[in-house]
Symmetry: C2
Subunit: 297 residues, 2 copies
């Protein structure tokens, strides 16, 4: 049972997500009439129209748009609130919303899979949600409470969050088979040489090869797969995590450039809100993750 009943808001959100009343019937398990009435009631309560509907299609009004976003937020925190109170029974329940940076599943040192398994092996009623996003976005979503924990190489840390070091990720510079440097002997490669070629970067400048001069127009990607693709075209050099390259078939089509010269690491952190409300599920998962990562490095 739910502690807070937000029938009207839940209906509103479901209607928006379903793009109209008709489809929301199935999402909500009530008839279209009921939905119609609920939306009317909500509009009466608010004193303004939240959406245009009818044969012309479904569309939020300007205020409706604002209301929708706020409603989603409050529903999420209502769920978390429920979970907090229910967890006082000793049962692990509610949402656990985890954010990670992309290409994290092959980072063996992180032990994400192992700790998730440990967490889930315990008796629990947790609804898991995993989101992939950039460190900046993850930070933002942690602060708003949209995420409970996030895992990424956070470079600029903010006061609202607290960070725990998890592991290191090793990076090298790679080129594709078609690239002029592909057949170059390592001994002849140095930063001077590298500087002649275009380099592809991640949009959040977090994996920059340190001390590399980037004189040339460079490509920007927001995702590891995209990075690999661009490097494979043979047009760009680019940094990639070693585990990422080694875990895939195409590794043969990529070449590490002067690994003794061009290698660097980034530190992965677990981030949570400093002033987090107590949630057993979050607590337990953090424990599991930190334990698994700490066990051998």
């Amino acid at each position: 049972m739910k502690l807070l009943r937000n029938t009207l808001l839940e209906t509103f959100v479901a209607v928006v997500d379903s793009g109209g009343f008709t489809d929301a019937q199935f999402a909500l398990g009530i008839t279209q009439s009921a939905i119609s009435i609920r939306i009317r009631d909500l509009e009466t309560a608010l004193g303004y129209r939240i959406c245009e509907r009818g044969r012309g299609g479904f569309r939020l009004t300007e205020r409706g748009e604002i209301a929708y976003n706020k409603a989603r937020d409050i529903l999420r925190s209502a769920r978390d609130f429920d979970a907090e109170l229910l967890e006082l029974r000793g049962i692990t329940t509610g949402d656990l919303r985890i954010g990670v940076i992309d290409a994290v599943n092959t980072l063996a040192e992180l032990k994400l899979e192992k700790s998730l398994k440990q967490f889930l092996d315990r008796p629990n009623e947790v609804r898991l949600e995993i989101v992939v996003a950039s460190p900046t976005e993850l930070t933002q979503r942690l602060i708003t409470g949209e995420l409970h924990v996030a895992i990424a190489p956070f470079r600029n840390q903010v006061a609202e969050l607290s960070y725990t070091e998890l592991c290191q990720e090793e990076h090298r510079l790679y080129c594709g088979r078609e690239h002029p440097l592909y057949d170059f002997p390592d001994e002849q490669i140095d930063k001077e040489v590298i500087a002649h070629y275009q380099i592809c970067q991640r949009s959040y400048n977090m994996l920059d090869p340190p001390n590399l001069q980037l004189n040339h127009p460079k490509a920007i990607v927001a995702n590891m797969e995209a990075m690999a693709t661009l490097i494979e075209t043979g047009h760009y050099l680019g940094p990639l995590p070693v585990h990422f390259v080694e875990s895939r078939r195409q590794s043969k089509s990529l070449r590490e450039l002067a690994p003794s010269l061009l290698h660097w690491t980034s530190t992965f952190y677990l981030a949570t809100r400093s002033t987090s409300l107590y949630r057993r599920a979050v607590e337990l998962f953090v424990e599991d993750l930190v334990r698994c990562c700490g066990s051998d490095t």
Copy 2:
């Protein structure tokens, strides 16, 4: 009408605040049976008992205590959420919860009264709440959202809040009629002399006379009235805001010590949450206050 209906939690909070079911009837405007049923339902939903009741008296259980605090928090944010959505109509409504340090009403430069009047003169449906507390507490309550704005001489400012300078408050050191220094000529008073007497301080060390050596056991107070009382005993010297002393009868029984030597000022700030949700009422009051304070200084 309310957007979020938290019947169960509202009942719970009202019952706790009324100290039992019987009195909560009047607070809630429903019969005792209804309350009994609601509390039972809440306990069923939670899966644990939240309070002991019966002829033996009313008492929260351990978990009930936790639940009560969380419930109060969520109800407050639900009210604010309602206000946010309702204010999209253009009507100023909802709570406006203001925190101030004590003895603020005689600080003329602050123009608190004038700006409150301006604010309230506008058509509005705002429920005002004014809380008096120490700067530390005010900071805490702002962060949790318990307060919307706070006014005090904040000395250590935190990142979560943003501060606007409002005005200055002038302080002097005073002694009571019975104090040995009461009849001392100002010329003979210096820090050396002062250091021989006990000084009373505010518990948040914010109005400390700068550069005063406090060698002697000193008294601590958390409130301006208390400070005045202790000074009037003739046993302590103590700092007081000038406006505070001048605005009351007893000023004759207090003496400023070497005002040319011993005077200092503290800066009053208005603090709000940096990442505050948009509330028209809050916005307007802040405008009013800043305008009134800025108009002449």
